[in-house]
């Protein structure tokens, strides 16, 4: 087949490079979703540990008052 003129070839070339860009962006979006989930779970765990520490401190305080 003869070479396509620039006007005809341009959209195909643009489409190919856009496919690559779209794949990268989709991957980044999926990774962002995972990062948000990790951050949320980490926040929950931090909150849980803080609550537990607070409860232990209150227990120790009550113990001191009782003594």
């Amino acid at each position: 087949m003869p070479a396509l003129p620039l006007d005809d070839a341009g959209p195909y070339v643009a489409a190919a490079y856009l496919v690559f860009l779209a794949l990268l962006l989709i991957y980044v979006a999926i990774m962002a979703g995972k990062l948000v989930r990790i951050a949320r779970e980490l926040g929950e765990l931090t909150e849980l540990v803080e609550r537990r520490q607070q409860a232990r401190a209150e227990d120790a305080e009550e113990e001191t008052v009782r003594q």
């Binding site: 005809d8 195909y12 070339v13 190919a16 496919v19 690559f20 991957y27 779970e41 765990l45």
Partner: protein, 244 residues
Amino acid sequence: MFARGLKPLSIASVVLIIGAFAMVFFYAPNDADQGFIQKIFYLHVPLAIAALGGFVAGGVWGVRYLRDGDRAHDLRSYVAIHISLILGIGALVTGSIWAKASWGHWWVWEEPTLVSFLIVFLLYACYQPLRFSIEDPERQARTAAVFSIVAGAFVPLNFLAVRMAESFTHPRVLSQTGGSMPGDMRLTFLVSLLGMAVLFVTLCKYELTSKQASMQLRALKRRLAADDDEAWLPTGRSAAPQQL
């Protein structure tokens, strides 16, 4: 463990990919035969080579897992195949676009290069469902390693078979004589290939780091649950390795 060197690798990926694309459009001349449409070559071929290389790398990590039983190797094998599948989709779609522009068809079933790549891709598309179908993590890792080795060995065999077959329309890029690309085209191709290889390694590292963070988080949850006498924690079935 996996995050080491991620920042310089990410910067190198961005610089190389942008540099390669700049060379494609501002340095490499238009092909005398195909004209401007040949610019897809600098994207399509590195994508395909990186994907096939990643499949083979997955097999190599599979061998290492079977040899020493280190779960990190299983994770590496899984991630290499996972990223290769993504690059494989890119190679198939960009190739199809190029085929439509060059040959007038989105797909040519008579062409061994195209069909063989599709077979390899479909073979690896079974990898994740295979892993997902096995619940026991030890068995899952072992079966996946065997799959990755057998399929990984199939990739170079397939490549050789295609080289020996008669080509109808698809050009042979990597020939024993070094191909017939002029110097500036060859340099652009090599920079694109290097960029894609570095991008592949970077994406693998991202995925490994993310998986490791999830695993550590799950382990931490399990420890906290055990402290609370809540030994039971729902883990859920997953195709990805769940612990190191």
